[in-house]
């Protein structure tokens, strides 16, 4: 956090400054929507390693970070990209081959964990998952947990309701707070100071943003203060939570950015195809990510007609009639 009035910087600076090897990070978005993909590709380019990644259903970005070997440990609720991968492919390979330790929670539990971090409390309660293996099975062993000061000693705690049945509730599950070193979100609009506005669903971006020690905001449009302050009800992120503001048009591509562009089915199917085979995946990384210097260059290689097709229709906010087969 930072109250300065101009936090604009390049994506490469923001990533090298706030994402260190071994950092605990989280990224915004959901499955194939508003993932901060430009930042994800920059993290891959800068060959960040040993990341501890927190995700609810943060989809495409999570799979690419895992595929590129950036992630050592994962706490997650859901790794899927809808029709494009009912289970994220590089995630699945990494787990099945024993390379990636995973701790499973539910989406609400992960949301509550970020919310607890944002609120500054060590845990929040829920009635979700009582009697399930989310409670009974731990991905990280108690020994591993005790050896690592950055993760809580327990995955979660089942507790009797101390208010004696109040709200017809006998028992709750307490889930521990997350405070990532850095969260990265992609939004539709931000100003130089950091005030940010998300259009469409915010998912859990706001909780993820406020839980973090540092926050990088990438945005489609960089606007004047006055514009956002003219309707503050529509802004979700106060500037003092923000450390870096990066202007990256198409920064969520190939995932969607409501009212700007849809997800890119062509690219997501290409990715799927590459991800299914280790050699093809290495070729994808080399050709598509490492050989471009930044997101702009990456995008410049995509056929304009392909990008034109995913442009959002002004009435609905998505690409009406887009061929998604």
């Amino acid at each position: 956090m930072n109250v300065n009035s101009n936090k604009r910087m390049s994506l490469s600076d923001a990533v090298s400054r706030f994402v260190s090897d071994g950092a605990h990070i989280s990224i915004g978005g959901f499955t194939i929507n508003r993932n901060p993909m430009a930042a994800v590709y920059e993290i891959i380019r800068q060959k960040k390693r040993h990341l501890h990644l927190y995700a609810h259903s943060n989809g495409q970005g999570v799979d690419e970070l895992i595929g590129a070997g950036c992630v050592d440990q994962l706490e997650i609720a859901y790794a899927g990209s809808g029709r494009f991968a009912s289970t994220c492919i590089r995630f699945r390979k990494a787990v099945e081959s024993g390379q990636l330790p995973v701790e499973d929670y539910s989406n609400y539990q992960m949301t509550l964990r970020f919310m607890a971090g944002a609120m500054g409390v060590p845990f929040l309660p829920t009635r979700s998952s009582l009697g399930s293996d989310l409670v009974n099975r731990w991905g990280f062993s108690q020994t591993a947990r005790q050896a690592n000061a950055r993760v809580p000693d327990r995955k979660l705690v089942v507790m009797d309701n101390p208010f004696d049945g109040w709200c017809d509730t006998e028992r709750v599950v307490l889930v521990p707070a997350i405070n990532p070193d850095v969260t990265i979100i992609h939004v539709q609009a931000a100003d130089r100071q950091g005030t940010a506005r998300i259009s469409g669903l915010p998912f859990a971006d706001v909780e993820q943003a406020k839980a973090a020690r540092h926050l990088i905001v990438t945005c489609e449009t960089l606007v004047d203060d006055d514009l956002l302050r003219g309707a503050p009800e529509r802004n979700q992120i106060p500037f003092f939570n923000v450390d870096a503001v990066v202007h990256v048009p198409m920064g969520a591509w190939p995932t969607a950015c409501y009212r700007y562009y849809d997800y890119d089915p062509t690219r997501l199917y290409q990715y799927r195809d590459a991800a299914l085979d280790d050699d093809r995946y290495q070729a994808y990384l080399e050709k598509e990510v490492f050989s471009s210097h930044n997101h702009e260059e990456m995008l410049a290689r995509i056929d304009d007609r392909q990008l034109e097709k995913i442009k959002a229709d002004p009435r609905t906010g998505y690409a009406v009639g887009l061929d998604r087969r």
Partner: protein, 258 residues
């Protein structure tokens, strides 16, 4: 299967689920066929049902079928575009949660309707890793009833789950109460062959009805555990109207129907 109009088992499943939705239900939708069922129900028998998604979209006006619950199509012309925290609180809430029906799928199901969508094999060294719970465990924990989609196969209807992701009736009639879960639980399982229910006393799975042309033996042959089939009826095939709504209004591109 055939009636006057040809239809697929996927279409039968979507229609069967749509019929389970009552007017006034708040319908929690996952990705895929559950969305079609909810969309179809609104057009057929439950015009005042409300479609909502764990991503936070409430009463989405689905002009095109979404390919994921995070699809921008769920955000259009909703009543409120909230966040995940709001969506799950709606289900855990003591008043609204009672009116929510959840539609979900899984990789494995047991006789008490408990679901696995996490791993096949050992949790720490899985043979197959799936996406994980997502919101499934939350929905199964909170809402008044759930409708489950499954493919009918021995490896899916198993005596013991490799991992219990989403609680059904747990280990029987008192299972949820003992665990501390709210009232609620699975009401039916819709497969490519049949509709399974749960005995009101024992909470063990039973056969409610077979789809057209399916015999009870076929069903039992495709399950890893035995169920009572004595009360099973024949399921009415989709009507021409149901099919036309499903095909023309809900998924004209056949993105989900295939």
């Amino acid at each position: 299967m055939s009636t006057e109009i040809e239809y697929t088992s996927r279409e039968m499943m979507a229609v069967a689920a749509a019929r389970e939705i009552r007017d006034g239900d708040i319908v929690f939708c996952g990705t895929g066929i559950s969305m079609l069922a909810a969309m179809a129900a609104k057009h057929i028998s439950a015009p005042n049902s409300v479609i909502f998604f764990e991503t936070g979209a409430i009463d989405s006006q689905l002009e095109e079928v979404p390919l994921a619950v995070g699809d921008p199509r769920v955000m259009f012309a909703t009543s409120v575009n909230g966040g995940l925290a709001d969506a799950f609180a709606t289900m855990q809430n003591r008043f609204t949660g009672r009116q929510v029906v959840g539609i979900m799928g899984a990789a494995q199901i047991d006789i008490y309707g408990n679901l696995n969508s996490t791993v096949i094999g050992d949790y720490h060294h899985p043979t197959v890793r799936f996406s994980g719970s997502g919101g499934a465990c939350d929905v199964a924990s909170f809402v008044s009833r759930t409708i489950i989609f499954m493919q009918h196969a021995k490896r899916k209807f198993v005596p013991k789950l490799d991992y219990l992701t989403s609680p059904g009736w747990l280990d029987g009639p008192d299972g949820r109460k003992k665990a501390g879960l709210p009232d609620g639980g699975p009401s039916c399982v819709i497969t490519n062959m049949a509709i399974m229910g749960f005995d009101p006393e024992t909470k063990r799975m039973v056969l409610n009805g077979c789809f057209q042309g399916v015999r009870k033996e076929d069903i039992l042959d495709n399950m890893g555990f035995a169920v009572d089939t004595s009360q099973a009826t024949q399921i009415k095939p989709p009507s021409a109207e149901e099919l036309s709504i499903l095909r023309d209004k809900c998924d004209p591109q056949r993105l989900i129907l295939g």
